[in-house]
Amino acid sequence: MNINQLQNMLTTLCNANPQKLAAWLDEDKFVIQNCLLLLILCSSFYGASLGLWRDPLQSFYVAVKFPLLILLTCSCNAVINGMLAQLLGAPISFRQSFLSVIISFTLLAVILASLTPLILFLLYNLPAMASASAKEAHGIFLLTNVVVISFAGVIANLRLFALLEYLCADRIKAMQILISWLAANLFLGCQLSWNLRPFFGSPHLDVSFVRDDPFDSSFYESVFTILMNYLGD
């Protein structure tokens, strides 16, 4: 992929013209390859900025884990997403539904990558890990990234909705498919991010690729335990 192709692809992806994106779904493996390449590069760039506050090594780990998290979520849900789309009446194949989700995640990664210089600027402005106010800095960094990821997620999903609406020619069907995909991806994504933690890296824990007990417990059990503790108090 040369620079002009990349530029054209970025413009088409961000413009998110449903007609053009729908044409991508019919194309050969070239689009999937390029989307995957862009997805890995952009999410890796953003991931590197996430771990940088904790340690450069953590930054490297997250640069590997962040694209991995997205790709694992897409791949593991590919079959169920394809089935749900067909059950809900979308005239698309498994390959096309997988590619639609990949396109949406690529757009998310591109938006996140475009905001990465600003995240690095924020990092420069935050108190260092070793300082007395490390806890506050960690909180601010965490919150800012939650806002940034949510913003990018909303935009990417709105574009995916427009594509689905074009494909199904029915707003309600498109909404149902989008919600079902979102539910499936969020359900698995939360658990995978739990298994692959740490991403930001807690100030009081050692730098590591994954925790010592990555498969011990689940995201949902932890949320349940925390809720029970709150209710118990």
Partner: protein, 236 residues
């Protein structure tokens, strides 16, 4: 009555704004003229891909205007600030623009504009050039006040107000250009504008002192700009 009819006829004969033509190798003054009077001439250049030669003159405008305005900012405290303030202002605005450049390209595309990274660079540089020109317009006023005002807070507020006005026009300009290039969703550009403003304001805090005096050329204490303003207000 006859005079007014003659004037109306003369106005009609005058070249309409949309007919304003900007040459491929425009001079600095032609570019300034286009920025103030006919932004659509810049859009025409963008569409015809004749804009590349006009990026360096825009950078020249930004450089010269920010340096001049910086000298006026530095005149409030004098001493080392005569040199430090213009350099810090130019460095700050350039770095802020570089940080926000990738998001401008992506947000513009997300808004529906058909645009390339090179065109984005042209739009960003023209927007900054417009803000620089407007600051130069305010420069005499700022210069007079620099020698009259004694309060750092008041002087800071005055510079901030002038900068805010120039940014308001510049951001309107960029929205207009992007709309002409096909952007439909204004909301995303508003988000980008907020990001740019926060980045520039934070940059002024990192590069402090720009207006006031200090024993060190750059403060190492990390503060959010609102926190810094609060402290400055408290001291004055």
């Amino acid at each position: 009555m006859a005079e007014s009819t003659q004037y109306a006829e003369k106005l009609e004969k005058t070249e309409p704004e949309s007919q304003y033509h900007l040459p491929e190798h425009a001079t600095v003054m032609q570019l300034v003229d286009a920025l103030l009077k006919a932004p659509e001439a810049l859009t025409k250049q963008l569409r015809a891909s004749e804009f590349k030669h006009n990026i360096p003159p825009f950078l020249l405008i930004i450089g010269i205007c920010y340096l001049i305005y910086g000298i006026i900012v530095g005149s409030f405290s004098g001493d080392i600030q005569w040199v430090a303030a213009p350099l810090k202002m130019l460095f700050g605005i350039s770095l802020s623009a570089l940080l926000c450049y990738p998001s401008l390209y992506i947000f513009a595309c997300l808004s529906g504009a058909t645009i390339t990274p090179q065109q984005t660079a042209f739009i960003l540089s023209s927007m900054l050039a417009l803000s620089a020109i407007l600051l130069i317009g305010f420069a005499p006023v700022a210069f007079i006040f620099s020698f009259s005002i004694k309060s750092l807070t008041f002087m800071g507020a005055l510079h901030l107000a002038m900068w805010a006005i120039s940014m308001n026009f510049s951001l309107r300009f960029i929205k207009r250009i992007l709309q002409e290039l096909g952007a439909k969703e204004g909301g995303l550009m508003t988000v980008w504008s907020v990001i740019l403003i926060i980045t520039i304001l934070q940059m002024t805090t990192i590069l402090r002192p720009i207006l006031g005096k200090s024993d060190v050329p750059l403060s190492t204490e990390k503060l959010f700009f609102i926190e810094h303003w609060g402290k400055t207000l408290g001291r004055n």
